[in-house]
């Protein structure tokens, strides 16, 4: 089957899955956010902060002009406090909420979690965000410094030093930034998913009669690739995969048979067969894992 082409459709890479055993004894298999998702979430948040700051500045400037500069003192205090709170409290306030995510993180289905599986505490959130001071604001300051008697070489070495912190997440397995390290947190991906309809329901309604040998052609791995192709594959990919399966199992297409119907029906039949095997304690890993025959080393999982 077109495995190389469908690889990108499988959502999670196994390298980013971490074990979290609940008190009920079930592993939730958390998926860590990757660097791209983290960066995107941060950029969204940064855009919101800058946008809010610009909006607040405009509002304050307009009211300053509207009141002929009389309440200037109050407005100046207001602006300083808005700036301070946007800079420091934005991340903390949002991550303290039950969702433990800023708007940027929420948009990408990310949230902050404690690395040891215990409740996320306020001090951890404070620690991870206070560290932004050296991860974000200090490098930004170095970038903004122009001249002012400061040696270019000093700015450069400052920038290099800052890069250690900025690119820190890329150099550890768990994609921790310095703040995560200090606070004992990490960022996991738990997107809000919609439960899509069961493919076996659609496939079960059609009338295809596969022989037992035809159904036995594939294992669990191929089933999951097939599921991905049916759910998310493009029309040419569906046609290609249908063609290959027909060839493999020796099926001649009827005159009015659509590729999608064929694949759904075959999916339902294959899943029925593999699941009934599963109930008898045998998980057929892939097509090379022949039931009753010489199995591949490590091919049978308990």
């Amino acid at each position: 089957m077109a495995e190389a082409a469908t690889d990108r459709l499988t959502p999670e890479k196994p390298g980013r899955v971490r074990t979290l055993v609940t008190p009920e004894g079930i592993d939730l298999r958390l998926v860590l956010a990757d660097a791209g998702q983290r960066a995107t979430a941060f950029l969204i948040d940064a855009a919101i902060i800058v946008g809010a700051l610009v909006a607040a500045t405009i509002v304050i400037a307009v009211s300053f002009l509207a009141f002929k500069g009389k309440p200037g003192e109050v407005l100046a205090i207001l602006w300083l406090l808005v700036f301070f709170f946007l800079r420091n409290a934005y991340f903390i306030a949002f991550e303290l909420r039950p969702g433990a995510a800023t708007p940027g993180k929420r948009a990408l289905g990310l949230r902050v979690a404690s690395r040891d599986g215990r409740p996320l505490t306020a001090d951890a959130i404070f620690a991870r965000n206070a560290m932004r001071e050296i991860e974000v604001y200090l490098p930004a300051t170095f970038l903004l410094v122009r001249g002012g008697g400061v040696d270019g070489l000093i700015i450069l070495s400052g920038l290099i030093w800052c890069c250690v912190f900025v690119f820190f997440p890329l150099f550890n397995r768990d994609r921790l930034r310095v703040g995560d390290l200090v606070a004992g947190t990490w960022v996991v991906r738990v997107p809000v998913r919609r439960l899509l309809p069961d493919l076996a329901a659609a496939g079960g309604r059609t009338t295809f009669a596969f022989t037992s040998a035809q159904i036995d052609a594939y294992g669990v791995k191929e089933l999951h690739v097939l599921e991905d192709v049916i759910r998310r594959g493009s029309a040419p990919m569906v046609a290609e995969v249908a063609m290959r399966i027909r060839r493999k199992i020796g099926w001649t297409a009827g005159a009015t048979e659509s590729d999608w119907d064929f694949l759904s029906a075959y999916y339902a039949a294959l899943r029925g067969r593999l699941e009934s095997r599963l109930l008898f304690g045998h998980r057929r890993v892939d097509k090379y894992d022949i039931p009753g025959g010489a199995s591949r080393p490590g091919g049978i999982s308990p």
Binding site: P11, L20, T22, P23, E24, I26, L28, E73, A76, L80, L81, F83, N88, P98, G99, A113, R115, R118, P119, L120, T121, A122, D123, A124, F126, A127, A130, M131, E133, I134, L138, V178, L181, V182, A183, G184, V188, V190, P191, V192, R194, L195, L196, D198, L199, A200, A201, G203, G204, T207, F208, A209, L223, H224, A268, R271, L274, E275, S276, L278
Partner: protein, 332 residues
Amino acid sequence: MAGQPLKSQRFRTEREADWARLDDHVRKVERSGPGSLSDAELLSIPVLYRAALSSLSVARATSLDHELIAYLESLCARAYFFVYGSRSTLADRAGRFFRADWPAAARALWRETMAAWLLMALGAIVAYALVRQDSDWFYAFIPSQMAGGRDPSATTAFLHSTLYDDRRQGLSVFATFLFTHNAQIALIAFALGFAFCIPTAFLMIVNGAMVGAMFALYAPRGLGWRLGGWLFIHGTTELYAVALAGAAGFRIGWALAFPGASARIDAVGKAGRQAAMLMFGVVLMLSVAGLLEGLGRQLIQSDLIRYAIAGFMASGWTAYLYWPRRGPSVGG
């Protein structure tokens, strides 16, 4: 293959409604907090969560519907974070912070705090000695935009006037500015501790040096006592806060360099949470210092009252943070 549905299909149709209910409740909590749910809904979450978790376990063993398993994993994880998440309300948390956590964190970091004080004192003494020897050193310790004319070339009369006459137009604006500026510096001192304490130590010394250089400028002209009042009315609170911020930074850097018996990553995590607790207090202290500096110093012109406030604040903070008391120690 038309005919009866698969076992996994029946399994799913029988439970789908419960999963959808859990999904809906958790979504509401994530969006607008637990207050948005009725009591009945809130009580149903743990039951639905355990049912979903059991479904996940069965589905992993018997179903090959990839989509279903991914959905249940995500749903169970979201529900888990709520069911086993933090229970305390913000008011509870704040109460515990002032009653126990902040003083406990300060006491736990007493060695680091002492180190920060010593480094500041060292900076002050060295700067004082250097400026007394050669007044050009003054410019090395105090940036010209901060000095505002208060440098070795100024007349004694001018220096005297700076201590009493700087009644500014916007006192409260100035106070706010001082608070935000100092809080940012303290946060940097904390965060820089991560680089094995060195930049934090440097910041402590520089901070002390600025005080020392100012004294070296004023003291020879007989203004030392008056400068003390001007500086310490807010300075006791501010230097206290800076020392605590430095201590928080040292704790992290020290845990990173010498993790002791635990793994480095765990040691840093524990130190970080403890130090963060202290930092929250530091920001509060700096807001008090900002008010004292921006308002108190401009409105109170008497040296004695200035010293009285300075002494009161210093002993107040010390008593609050270090007075022995019973209670749970700070923890993660």
